[in-house]
C-alpha cells in the first residue's frame, strides 16, 4: 500500500539546510496497523506530511496504492488526499461552526458528492462510531473523545485506502484514549490500513508493528507481541 525507498527530505534553515529524513525505507502492506514512534525532532511528523501528500520529498521513491508520487501540483495532491487518505489529528480539527454530521460530510463535498447523499453517508459513519444521536451537535458541545470519534468518522467517510493518525490520543485522557484506540483497531480489523504517529509506548503497543525513528533514520522495525499472538 505504502512503499518508501531511500526517502530524503531537508528543510532550508537560513543558509544551511536541515536534513530531516536521511534515507528511509518502509513498506506498509494493505490492512496493516503501523505506528511510527520517535521523540520530537526524529522526523516522524515530516514522514507523515510526505505520506499524507501534504509535503513533497526531495529524493527517493514514494509509491502510494501502486502510484508513484512525484511532481504533484497542489490540485492533484488535494484530489489524491481526498481519494486515498483519511486524516485524524491530535487537536481534532473539527470545523467549529459545523455540526458533527456536517463535519463528517465535508470530505464528500470536496469529492463532489451531492448534498443529500453526503448527509446520508455521513450519518452512516457517525452511527458506526456510535454518535448518531449527537449528529446535530456542534463540536464544542462534544467531549474530547466524542470529537475524535467524529474526526475518525470524517477520515473514513470517503472510504480511503489509508487512515493517517497524528497523535490521535495526544489530547485525551487514558480511558478515552483506549476507546479511541479500540475504534482504530476495529476499523483496522475491517481491513483498513492504519498509520499512527505517536510518542506514547502504550499506544504504539496496541498496533501490530512499531517503526522507531531517530534523527531521521529508522532504528528498529518490529512486530508487536500482540501481532505475534494473533
Amino acid at each position: 500500500m505504502i512503499q518508501i525507498k531511500n526517502l530524503h527530505k531537508s528543510y532550508p534553515m537560513g543558509k544551511d539546510s536541515l536534513h530531516v529524513l536521511k534515507g528511509l525505507n518502509l513498506h506498509i502492506k494493505e490492512g496493516e496497523f503501523v505506528s511510527i514512534m520517535g521523540s520530537s525532532g526524529s522526523g516522524k511528523s515530516t514522514l507523515l506530511n510526505i505520506v499524507g501528500l501534504l509535503d513533497t520529498h526531495d529524493e527517493g521513491v514514494y509509491i502510494l496504492n501502486g502510484q508513484e508520487i512525484k511532481e504533484l501540483d497542489e490540485t492533484k495532491a488535494a484530489n489524491l488526499r481526498n481519494k486515498f487518505l483519511g486524516f485524524v489529528f491530535q487537536s481534532f480539527n473539527l470545523i467549529s461552526y459545523k455540526t458533527a454530521v456536517e463535519n463528517v460530510a465535508l470530505p464528500l463535498y470536496y469529492k463532489g458528492v451531492g448534498r443529500k447523499e453526503r448527509l446520508v453517508t455521513a450519518m452512516e459513519y457517525l452511527d458506526k462510531v456510535g454518535l448518531k444521536d449527537w449528529a446535530n451537535h456542534l463540536p464544542n458541545e462534544l467531549s474530547g473523545g466524542q470529537k475524535q470519534r467524529v474526526a475518525i468518522a470524517r477520515a473514513l467517510v470517503t472510504e480511503p485506502k489509508v487512515v493517517l493518525a497524528d497523535e490521535p490520543t495526544g489530547a485525551l485522557d487514558s480511558v478515552t484514549s483506549d476507546s479511541v484506540m479500540e475504534l482504530l483497531k476495529e476499523i483496522n480489523r475491517e481491513g483498513m490500513t492504519v498509520f499512527v504517529i505517536t510518542h506514547e509506548e502504550e499506544i504504539a503497543e496496541q498496533s501490530e508493528r512499531i517503526v522507531r525513528l531517530k534523527d531521521g533514520v529508522i532504528i528498529s522495525d518490529e512486530k508487536t507481541k500482540k501481532a505475534v499472538t494473533i
Binding site: 506530511n49 497542489e74 484530489n79 486524516f87 465535508l106 463535498y109 451531492g114
Partner: protein
Amino acid sequence: MFDLDRWIEIFETIRKNKLRTVLSGFTIAFAILLFTLLFGVGNGLLHTFEREFARNSMLSIYIYGGKTTKPYKGLQSGRRIRLKNDDLSYLTKNYEDKMLGISPTMTRQLQGVYKGKQNSYSVRAVYPSYQVLQSAEIESGRYINTRDVHNRSKVICIGRLVEKDLFGERSGLGKDIFLGGISYKIIGTFSDIGGDREERVIYTPFTGFQKIYGNSDNVEGFGLTYNPKMSVDEAIAFGNTLERDLKEKHNVAPNDQRAIRVQNYAEGNRQVSSMMFGLNIGILIIGIGTLLAGVIGISNIMVYIVKERTVELGVRKALGATPKSIIGMIMLESIFITTISGYVGLLVGTTVLRMIGDGLEKYFIVNPSVENYVVVGATIVLILAGTIAGFIPAQRAARIKPIDALRGD
C-alpha cells in the same frame, strides 16, 4: 459556472459566522452610507450655489440703449439712442458665427385678468432664442416659436406664479387671459430657479407686441447668447466689439458710457465657474476620503478573517480542498457580503437624502442627491477592494501547508 452546492456551502458559512458577516457587512454599508450622505450634502451645497449665482444663462450679453452724455460729431449730448429692428439684422449679419442666438426685447408692465382675478405682470416680448438666455424651464405646453413670431400671434408663455395667481391649482394651459385689455392664449407655463420675480414674467412673441406697444420699429434692447466655444477672454472681447460697432453705427462717442450699455456675463462667468470648480474639488476630496476609509476598513477585516480561518482552511485542504476552491470560497463569500451590504448602504443613504429633501435649506443645502452611477461606482470600488484585499491572504492561506496551519494553534 453556477454551482448550487458551492453556494449552499457559502451561505451556510455566512449564516453560521454572524459576527464576521455583520462586521464586514457593516463596514461596507457604513462606508457607502457615509459616502452617499457626504456626497449628497456636497451636491446640495452646489445646487444652492447654482441657484444663487447661475440665474441667467452664463453665456449671455445684454444690450440696451440710453442717453448720450457727450457731444460727438456735431451732435449734442442728452440725445436718446433708440435701438431699432435694423440693429438686429446688422448684428445677425455681422456676428452670426459668434452667436448661438439673438432676440430683441421689449418689456411692459401690464394688468393680467382672468375671470375677475387680476394682478400686474411684467410682459416681455421676445424671439424664441430668448429662451436659452433664461434659466426658465418649460413645465407644460411650449415656449414661443418662430411661427408665433412670424404670424404675430397673440400667445403667451406664463411663469409658474402667474398661473398660480390666476388659476389657483388648476392648469391655465389653453385658456385666454387679458393683458392690458387684449386677449392672449396661454400656450405654455414655465418655472425658473431665478426666483419669484422671474416666475411672474409673461413671454409673448416680439413682433405682435412691438406692433401694439412700440408703434414703430423701436427695440428696447437685445439679449444674445455667445458661442460657448469662445473662451472667457474672447467673449469679453466680443462684447467690447459689439459695443464699439453699435456706438459707431449710432454716432455715439466711443468713450460715452451711458448711451449704449452692454452687459456681458462672461466676466461673472469666470468667477462663478472657478468657484464651482473649487466646490466640485472639495466634494471629490470628501468622496475619495470616505471611499479610502472604507477600502482600508474592508481590507483589514478581510486580512483578519483569513487569519482567523487559517486552521479551518488547513483542515479543508487536508480533506481534499484544492487551492482553487479555497480561494474561490473566500472570494465569493466576500463579494457576496460586500455586494449585499453595499446595496443596503446605498439604499439607506439615498432614502435619507430623499427624506432630507429641502429640509436643510437654511443651511444652504438644496435637494441633496447623488447620481446613481456615482454610488454604484463607489460600491464597485469597495467590492473590488474587498476582493483584492481578500485575495492576497486567501492565496497565502491556500498555499500554506495544512500541517503548519493545523500545528499553528
